[in-house]
Symmetry: C2
Amino acid sequence: MCRTIAIVNQKGGVGKTTTAVNLAASLALAGVNILLVDADPQGNSTSGLGLEKAPPGLYDVYAGRCAVEEALRPTGVEHLSILPSTPDLLGAEIELAGGEGSSQLLKDALSPVRERFKYILIDCPPSLGILTLNALVAAEAALVPVQCEYYALEGLSMLSHTLSLVRGSYNPGLDIEGVLLTMYDPRNSLTREVEEQLRAHFGPKVYSTVIPRNITLAEAPSHGKPALLYDTRSRGAQSYLSLAKEFLSHEDGV
Amino acid sequence: MCRTIAIVNQKGGVGKTTTAVNLAASLALAGVNILLVDADPQGNSTSGLGLEKAPPGLYDVYAGRCAVEEALRPTGVEHLSILPSTPDLLGAEIELAGGEGSSQLLKDALSPVRERFKYILIDCPPSLGILTLNALVAAEAALVPVQCEYYALEGLSMLSHTLSLVRGSYNPGLDIEGVLLTMYDPRNSLTREVEEQLRAHFGPKVYSTVIPRNITLAEAPSHGKPALLYDTRSRGAQSYLSLAKEFLSHEDGV
Ligand SMILES: Nc1ncnc2c1ncn2[C@@H]1O[C@H](COP(=O)(O)OP(=O)(O)OP(=O)(O)O)[C@@H](O)[C@H]1O
Ligand SMILES: Nc1ncnc2c1ncn2[C@@H]1O[C@H](COP(=O)(O)OP(=O)(O)OP(=O)(O)O)[C@@H](O)[C@H]1O
Ligand SMILES: [Mg+2]
Ligand SMILES: [Mg+2]
């Protein structure tokens, strides 16, 4: 029984890739089979795990140049595979827009390999275009990282609106998996204000695990490793381990 | 003689809006006539200056529903006007893609009002789609904020590639106005490594002014004010004042 989760927020720089890479690695290290799909033309999840952005990647699957199995790659983490991104994915926004069935491409592409994995995590770009739409149609739920700052909070109404549009016309079962507070600094009143508003609005959907601002999370990508393999004892790595535990505890109830 | 500058970087959360709002305000407070165009559907420049995201906005101008003059609004800062964003701009990416002349819309829309302003600054979304393309076609130069971190550095080759594509087919004169280091923390080795690489690669194009990580810059937007009006003496506000001075000193040579 595979579950697909889109890691999404059109606000830029809120920790989508950092969450995708570190949550995927934490789940894989617990022995759970994971596929990470890098649906962002920037390809940060791909380089964050130390892989080249060379074809075949997601664009080649979208363009029908290869089957999805051929584009899956192992990573330096056991039980974690990646469907990498390449720079030509940038053209997909314009090439795919408006085509017949262009919102179902990822869902259809993933269906032959779904049963190999317990979870598929999709790292989305900071926009609500066709690449993110594909992820929301392929997913059962959305995990929303939110930086504890004003612009990130402001953007949530646009995101909620988009989720309900997708629910209405493409994917009636699309749920919110969880809202994750990132770059959390308890000494800072703005952080606490944003947290209060989020817990009031999203209630139990907000994870009790918060991700602190921690330099290891910013340094690990330059070594092509998740924080867990770069500096296991760091607060950043430990916070994603506890997120993985909380994430799995929600699943038990499914 | 008006100059149009696009504030652009497809990497999310690097300080595009913070730079657009605070540089625009600093130039305006020096008595220079400024128009800030919010070309991002998120509308952060619009709310960062305390304005409602209500029509008419840039989308209405693109859709031909009103002339550009009708969409310009005063802000709380003398000499600073804004062409605001509204949520329906989100649809423009899909509606405009591929249309005849769809990359020249902003350039044509701004031409009747250019001579009222000394500078037009355009705040771009974190993507390289049709909204950013319009800004790069309308602009004489691009100002690139770069967060001093690995993923932001990695994204610059994709951005440089896009700038040369635009130069080749739409706007031969498109130049780099400057590269701005943001969220700069001198105690952090990653910051110094990124700075070294940027100065080696972009040379004198990298501003000597750097923007420190400073909480005022994150707090001011929730009060709908640029940092200069929220807390003038803060390091954040002062750094944008010195950026405005450096920006103007480059112009003298034009
Ligand atoms: N908790 C954290 N502490 C410190 N730095 C962090 C943390 N989370 C992310 N970062 C750093 O902040 C920057 C933004 O994070 P990241 O790239 O993961 O966000 P994103 O939402 O994926 O961005 P984009 O919108 O461009 O896809 C990165 O340089 C990352 O290394
Ligand atoms: N120098 C700084 N010090 C502290 N916080 C900052 C600084 N610059 C920006 N910020 C904060 O960091 C976040 C990201 O900045 P901002 O929204 O300006 O980036 P952006 O590039 O416009 O993002 P997007 O890609 O979503 O458009 C915001 O919450 C902002 O308030
Ligand atoms: Mg990302
Ligand atoms: Mg912005």
